[in-house]
């Protein structure tokens, strides 16, 4: 994007979507027309967003490279940078350093069945790959989506869910942790619902992202269903600063999540030191 890897490209916020009480989605376009024209990324890659005056934080680009009208980032308000980002609105300027890190190996996944398992804001990195696959639908086999949140109000991308539920070429399952008035879908923890759905591991890959505890039990459920470690993908959240494998914050042994990740297979993670 730039010969100076620390220099953000300026972008303009086109739209801010209030996803949940704590999550806002920002749709942004790069200001420089040449950068905008040449910008490419793979689903799963991340970017650093600048809240000028506070600093930067890392978010996945959760739009799809097949839909380049804007780049989309979803931000959960948890700290100083995210709180500042939550004050921004359409028309405001924002700094973007992207794309950083690796992408899901979507080419290797061609011809396979796909199971997405997302929990809470962990749906964001899955969304980019899901949209990419839906836009290249013939390249992939059966696609199953299991998306869970604590309650319906914590469910991001709710405006897309009706379409996903209606599609014949997407098997969508939604779940929440506890009963909620008017909720017509599953109630129960994601790993348990996954076991009920019972996807076949044959020629299939599973992609999961969510809170660490959810990932842990989802991986156990996938193993119970017969998925091998090589068939399970996840994206890691780490505290990152430079985003280019230098500053020394996000490493797990020899692997720098900002550069070698955030996408790993469970088989790869098992080889790394136990320091997630």
């Amino acid at each position: 994007m730039n010969s100076n890897p620390y220099l953000p490209a300026m972008a303009t916020i086109q739209e801010v979507i209030e996803e949940t009480p704590t999550i806002k989605t920002f749709r942004v376009t790069l200001n420089n027309p040449n950068l905008k024209k040449d910008f490419t990324f793979g689903p799963g890659q991340v970017g650093q967003l600048s809240a000028f005056g506070i600093g930067e934080a890392t978010f996945v680009i959760n739009s799809s490279p097949t839909r380049m009208d804007y780049l989309q980032f979803s931000v959960m308000k948890t700290g100083e940078v995210t709180s500042m980002l939550h004050t921004l609105s359409a028309g405001d300027q924002i700094g973007v350093r992207a794309p950083l890190g690796n992408a899901f190996p979507y080419e290797d996944m061609k011809g396979k069945d796909i199971v997405f398992v997302g929990g809470g804001i962990g749906m964001a990195p899955l969304r980019t790959l899901l949209l990419f696959m839906l836009d290249n639908r013939k390249d992939y086999g059966k696609i199953t989506l299991l998306y869970g949140a604590r309650s319906p109000v914590d469910m991001a991308f709710s405006y897309e869910l009706p379409e996903w539920l209606e599609r014949d070429d997407l098997d969508t399952h939604l779940t929440i942790d506890a009963p909620f008035e008017g909720w017509e879908h599953n109630v129960g923890l994601i790993p348990n619902v996954l076991l009920d759905i019972n996807p076949s591991p044959k020629n299939c890959v599973a992609i999961t992202c969510g809170p660490p505890i959810m990932i842990k039990f989802t991986v156990q459920a996938l193993a119970k269903l017969g998925f091998e470690d090589e068939q399970i993908y996840t994206t890691l959240e780490k505290r990152m600063k430079c985003g280019i494998g230098i500053c020394g914050r996000c490493n797990i042994g020899t692997s720098y999540v900002c550069q070698d990740g955030p996408v790993y297979t469970y088989a790869q993670l098992k080889k790394l030191p136990n320091e997630m």
Binding site: L7, S50, F52, A57, Q93, R249
Partner: protein
């Protein structure tokens, strides 16, 4: 062919004055009880008779440096519309570091593999690196805390230096190490040094012989990984540590940093500052999860980075220059040599046969 020169001891100050015309000269001098690299001041002089308390990191990797300047520009026709102007601030100062030891200059070769030879080049580091010259002084003998000989170096190792000075009678024998180092040898204060080579070689040989027996770190990458999950081992190793971070700040090979913004009204700067992997906040995530919550986890990462992860990634090179400052200045006597050697010597207790 390296150029060789000689300079009289009493001419060093004049040479630094000359070099100061084109460069900012950093030389070690006493400040209180510490020997610190500071901009050369002829009245305050320099002190090069022993290793400085802190390495000359400032020249290439300042404790704090501005990466960007930004300003918000209000559109007076439409006050809700604010444009943002962001400028990079690539450093241009040319430094000459004088009187550093071989370990100090070699330390930056550890940075180079990461900052210059990775997938992305750190343009700030590159600019400083290319604008900084090291006039290194060979060591006379090793101190009790020195172990450069254990990490592939030695008391007259020229790696990372531009010139190497070795004490000879009445002055110093100077060898150019890099081509650009020769640019610094044009002064009329320097005379032909070829006749002093034998004397300098003798000095270097004696210095090598004076070093303590090198601890053997062979196998450290795999041995450190072998004890990775041994909580009791790391609890014991970190028992004394108080997480003060002195080891990282004084280390010529520690390069971790943080990036923060400082706002001043509508303007502000983005700043890079040294960070410290011994601090509990270093890896603390926004969710509250911290992959390295205890000092045992953090010390394990620091030692692991230098003696396991970095060598694995960079052809076996240990990311430690053996200067010993982390040992000498540790307020509680943590000794990184002993930690690595303990990991290498560690044998899991064998289960008694039933």
């Amino acid at each position: 062919m390296a150029q060789t020169k000689f300079i009289k001891k009493e001419s060093l100050s004049a040479w630094l004055e000359e070099l100061g015309q084109d460069h900012e000269v950093l030389a070690p001098r006493f400040e209180g009880d510490s020997i610190i690299f500071r901009p050369y001041d002829s009245e305050k002089g320099f002190f090069i008779d022993r290793e400085a308390t802190a390495p000359p990191k400032k020249a290439i990797f300042p404790q704090s440096e501005t990466l960007l300047e930004y300003s918000q520009i209000k559109d007076m026709e439409n006050l809700s519309k604010i444009a943002m102007d962001v400028k990079e601030t690539i450093p241009t100062t040319s430094y000459v570091v004088f009187g550093n030891r071989p370990c100090d200059a070699r330390g930056f070769t550890m940075f180079d593999r990461v900052y210059l030879n990775g997938e992305k080049v750190d343009v700030y580091y590159k600019a400083r690196r290319e604008n900084t010259y090291f006039i290194t002084l060979s060591c006379e003998k090793g101190e009790a805390t020195c172990f450069c000989n254990a990490v592939g170096s030695g008391p007259s190792d020229p790696s990372g230096s531009d010139l190497l000075m070795t004490p000879v009678k009445d002055g110093y024998y100077i060898e150019s190490v890099s081509k650009r180092g020769e640019e610094l040898l044009k002064s009329s204060l320097l005379t032909d040094g070829s006749k002093m080579k034998a004397e300098a070689d003798k000095y270097k040989k004696a210095a090598n012989a004076s070093m303590n027996k090198a601890p053997d770190f062979t196998g450290s990458p795999e041995k450190l990984l072998a004890v990775f999950d041994n909580g009791a081992f790391w609890e014991e190793m970190s028992d004394k540590c108080i997480s003060c971070g002195a080891c990282t700040y004084l280390c010529p090979t520690c390069y971790c940093f943080n990036i923060t913004d400082e706002a001043n009204g509508l303007k502000g700067t983005r700043i890079r500052s040294w960070d410290n992997c011994m601090s509990a906040q270093f890896t603390s995530e926004a969710s509250g999860h911290n992959p390295r919550p205890a000092k045992a986890n953090r010390l394990k990462n620091r030692v692991g980075h230098k003696f396991s992860y970095y060598p694995d990634l960079h052809g076996g090179v240990i990311s430690c220059c053996g200067c010993g400052r982390c040992i000498k200045s540790c307020p509680v006597g943590v000794d990184i040599r002993q930690i690595v050697l303990s990991a290498i010597a560690y044998k899991p207790a064998t289960k008694k046969e039933a």
